[in-house]
Amino acid sequence: MSGRYAFFLGCVAPLRYPGIELATREIFKSLGVELVELEGAGCCPAPGVIRSFDQTTWLALAARNLALAEQKKTDIMTICNGCYGSMFEANHIMQHHPEEMKKVNDVLSKVGLKYNGAVKVRHFAEVLYKDIGMEKIKAHVKNPLNYNIAVHYGCHFVKPTRVKHLDDPERPRILDELVEATGAKSINYKDKLMCCGAGGGVRSRDNKTALRMTEEKLKNLKKVNAQMIVDVCPFCHLQYDASQNDLPGYNIPVIHLSQLYGMAFGLPRDKLGLEAHVTKVNL
């Protein structure tokens, strides 16, 4: 099942940063890749909170999304590390534990659905890197970018590697290469792979601790004069973007990779949804 992808929106992108949703639609259209609408999909559900509260509910809701994609005979593509992490792991559990699959399907049968385990969960950055490829991406860059960019991988893109096998957990390269395909420079900084602080329900339950982690990252980004943060997760995006409002002295624009590609592919600015950003983007 490849070539077309069921577009999984999640919560934070469509409800907080619609520019991420629109930029993704537009860049895949430019690349000639079909995104299939996944009507009625729900929350992934969020790995840090819902999985922490009740794994059975988490698994069943993830399976509902996967079953909807299975009906469309497509793999599912996310624009968020959290959605990717949740559905990837839930899929892995169901594919390797028949008893869990059965339990889940008993629940899904109440809403007339069944999941058979045929769907692959894909992250849009991984789709860009592996399925579309650097050459084709470079050929679509109309406005080469000239920024010093701090890449933020987030936690659930390559990790846990025991199930994902995407890249090295300590020295990943995928996002650096994807960012540099636009002409920009991916700069190194201290604790590059550290968490933004938001995950695991920490942002909602203990915002102070989450903020301290974010500040630690921002301090390191400022030291190397990063002109922007590029992320692949609307939740990390929210954490970096909104937190700078509470942290005096920081003003680093936060851009999702889809928005960066929008800029490089020559999308009009009003398709990038930058006015939803709390930290103003003057680029």
Binding site: L9, C11, V12, P14, L15, R16, P18, G19, E21, L22, L38, E39, G40, A41, G42, C43, A46, G48, V49, I50, S52, F53, D54, Q55, T56, T57, A60, L61, R64, E100, V107, L108, K110, V111, C155, H156, K159, P160, T161, P169, D191, L193, M194, C195, G197, G199, G200, G201, V202, S204, R205, D206, T209, R212, M213, E216, K271, G273, E275, A276
Partner: protein, 182 residues
């Protein structure tokens, strides 16, 4: 407090509870790796949250091995992990630390230990099928950008939302959000 033979008072030492340990081991995928931990502390050293707080990953795993239920389930520390998987990547014993924390958190929630802010997220899920509430200004921006006001998700889709809620109810999630026990 107990009194030692010399007469000095001592803090009561918690007794190991092997039944609780078993429950963690059988609590879900990953739980079975609990006893592989030999307490090297690589997890604690790798933890970005522990760098800033008193959260000690190694200690929680040790307490789980000993079955110290009452020290784990009500504690705030249990909720300081951001699930970043740094510890899991580096663990020389391949202990599924994050999975074990999920199991412990599920147990805590079932016993009614849940932050109000987290119950709010549960309510958002039951209402919209999303973790965050709908904001009017974002919906307006969507329209301005040429996107449909409601995304094609459970938000604004009555049938999809009914199905979504039904699954949650079937799993007992709605009751759980009202204060534990499934």
């Amino acid at each position: 407090m107990t009194v030692s033979p010399s007469g000095a008072s001592m803090t009561k030492i918690a007794e190991p509870n092997p039944a609780f340990t078993k429950m963690v081991e059988k609590g879900g995928p990953g739980g079975e790796t609990l006893m592989l931990c030999y307490q090297c502390g690589t997890c604690t050293a790798s933890c970005p949250s522990g760098r800033l707080t008193a959260f000690r990953t190694r200690q929680i795993i040790r307490k789980a091995q000993l079955g110290l239920k009452d020290e784990i389930l009500p504690s705030d520390d249990l909720w300081l992990c951001t699930t970043c998987y740094s510890c899991v990547e580096r663990c020389p014993r391949e202990v599924e630390i994050t999975d074990i924390l999920f199991i412990l958190r599920n147990m805590a929630v079932r016993e009614g230990h849940m932050a109000e802010q987290h119950k709010k997220i549960g309510e958002n899920m039951l209402k919209h099928g999303a973790t965050v509430p709908v904001k009017e200004e974002v919906m307006k921006l969507r329209v301005k950008m040429g996107l449909p006001e409601n995304p094609p998700t459970t938000v604004g889709n009555k049938k999809a939302m009914e199905d979504f809620r039904k699954i949650m109810e079937e799993c007992g999630f709605d009751k759980l959000m009202k204060g534990g026990k499934k």
